[in-house]
């Protein structure tokens, strides 16, 4: 089967083990914890790649540095990096990130998802499709596609812990 994969031998990165340092303020219910890049990264880092039993973080598709959060103005911008510049899975990966955030973030957030500049040969087309909510809505009414997305999201709650194989 391996020869049919889009990217049969992806580079696997050591996860940087970014873990939020828990502060006393976070345990104090009287202090508001605004949603920040770390929270967004934790939500998406453990989404599985559609092809490999690896997380988007392990494949360096999502990086903490490429998430911008403007909590006050309800804006989130995520840039992701496809493993190869002609990756035909780029739209699906972006869709998985979008669905994860649709399901996890408060409704007030407007989320923009983009391919990191210069990392994909069709970045304009991929970005346009990922940010067209009508096409996203139509895609999510496709049961087969939704199953694939849900499969990729089944590991998302690990928030950076390793996927246990076997």
């Amino acid at each position: 089967m391996a020869q049919n994969l889009i990217n049969a031998n992806p580079t696997i990165y050591n996860t940087k083990n970014i873990v939020r340092k828990e502060t006393e303020a976070e345990y104090d219910d009287n202090i508001e914890d605004p949603i920040d890049s770390q929270e967004i990264f934790d939500l998406i880092r453990s989404i599985s790649d559609p092809e490999h039993p690896l997380t988007l973080e392990q494949l360096n598709v999502t990086q903490f540095e490429h998430i911008e959060v403007d909590n006050k103005n309800n804006k989130v911008l995520i840039e992701f990096t496809p493993t190869i510049p002609h990756c035909s899975m780029a739209t699906l990966i972006g869709l998985c990130i979008r669905v994860r955030l649709l399901r996890s973030l408060p409704d007030r957030f407007k989320v923009d998802i983009k391919v990191r500049k210069g990392t994909h040969q069709s970045e304009g087309a991929v970005n346009k499709q990922l940010n067209d909510k009508e096409r996203v809505a139509a895609a999510l009414e496709n049961n087969h596609l939704l199953e694939v997305v849900n499969q990729c999201l089944s590991t998302a709650s690990l928030r950076g812990m390793e996927i246990k194989t076997n």
Binding site: N74, D107, R108, K110, K128, N131, D132, K133, E134, R135, A137, A138, E141
Partner: protein
């Protein structure tokens, strides 16, 4: 300063609402939703515009989202465009006082995005993600014949809108253009392609005369286009004896996310726009600033922020006639329909 007053908040849809469409003569609003239904809303009493109820729910005919709903010019029929690739035709049965799906138009390969009736009600247009625009002839006994399949857009076609008087059709697309279509002896062809928007054109609407068109885009601008006929006194060049459309005004810097819908009032000439930035904006022609018909100035006279709370607003529609010419309906991702009145 003019402002918007919220008349009513209509709750009932179970998913995001995509479009609102007013009955051509009666005070009835049709809305369509991701919940696969169309709801018809009317005031409980004709003298009190603040209390509305859902008078009818049209359901069962579509398997997926209903993206667009349009009244026929008589108001006796409704057309529904669905992601399930079919168009439903609904008829009001006066004896039973209910609505029934009397025809299903098939042919598009995938999601239908918009449906529109021509001014006489003789023609129906639909458009789809399959990049095509279809023109249907309305025959007797709920029969519809496809007259033409127009395949010149290179991407997903988002909206179709008929000229208010003539058999001229406009279509807006994900390919960033608007196309104008006309018939010549049963042959439909593209008269003009309107380029200028930098991203998806989501919505278009003619003014009352049909000589102007407004368009709204993902590029966060609104453009106003004017039709120039051959041998126009302004000297705008035309080709093949066809009219040409030129942008005469661009409204930018008002919305900071995608503009999903625009409506040009046939009564007071105001333009209303709604956006993913949660805001309704209303623009009026500034006749004090200039009287130049070829480069008019439109000023933003009303801004209603967070009109559907934190949610995207997907559709806006002015009441079509004098009776409530100052009314506006908006629909949002919150599943809510709102009726507003302009207070001058």
């Amino acid at each position: 300063m003019p402002r918007l007053e919220l008349l009513a908040t209509l709750e009932g849809h179970q998913d995001r609402v995509w479009q609102a469409s007013w009955h051509p003569t009666k005070t009835i609003l049709a809305t369509c939703s991701g919940d696969k239904t169309v709801r018809l809303w009317a005031p409980i009493s004709p003298t009190n515009p603040t209390e509305w109820q859902c008078v009818e729910t049209l359901e069962g005919a579509h398997k997926r989202t209903i993206r667009s709903v349009a009244w026929s010019p008589t108001g006796n029929e409704l057309a529904t465009a669905s992601f399930d690739a079919t168009t439903g035709i609904w008829e009001h049965d006066a004896r039973e006082n209910n609505w029934e799906c009397v025809a299903t138009l098939e042919g598009h390969e995938n999601e239908i995005k918009s449906v529109s009736w021509s001014a006489t009600g003789a023609l129906l247009a639909t458009c789809s993600r399959d990049k095509s625009v279809w023109i249907w002839e309305v025959e007797s006994d709920n029969d519809f014949e496809c007259l033409s399949v127009l395949q010149e857009h290179t991407q997903d076609v988002k909206m179709v809108a008929w000229h208010p008087k003539l058999e001229i059709l406009a279509s807006a697309s994900y390919d960033d253009t608007i196309k104008i279509w006309k018939e010549d002896e049963d042959d439909w062809y593209c008269v003009d392609t309107l380029s200028g928007h930098q991203s998806t054109v989501w919505s278009i609407d003619f003014d009352a005369t049909g000589d102007h068109l407004v368009s709204a885009s993902d590029d966060q601008t609104i453009r106003i286009w004017k039709m120039y006929k051959p041998n126009n006194p302004q000297g705008i060049p035309t080709h093949n004896g066809e009219a040409t459309w030129k942008t005469i005004c661009t409204l930018s810097g008002y919305h900071d996310r995608c503009i999903y819908s625009v409506s040009w009032s046939k009564v007071n000439n105001y333009i209303a726009s709604v956006s993913g930035d949660n805001t309704i904006r209303i623009f009026a022609k500034d006749t004090e600033a200039t009287t130049d018909e070829d480069s008019p100035i439109f000023k933003n006279i009303i801004t209603e922020k967070d009109a559907h709370g934190v949610y995207d607003i997907n559709g806006v529609s002015w009441f079509p006639n004098e009776r409530h010419g100052d009314w506006l309906a908006t629909v949002g991702d919150d599943g809510i329909v709102r009726i507003w009145r302009v207070i001058e």
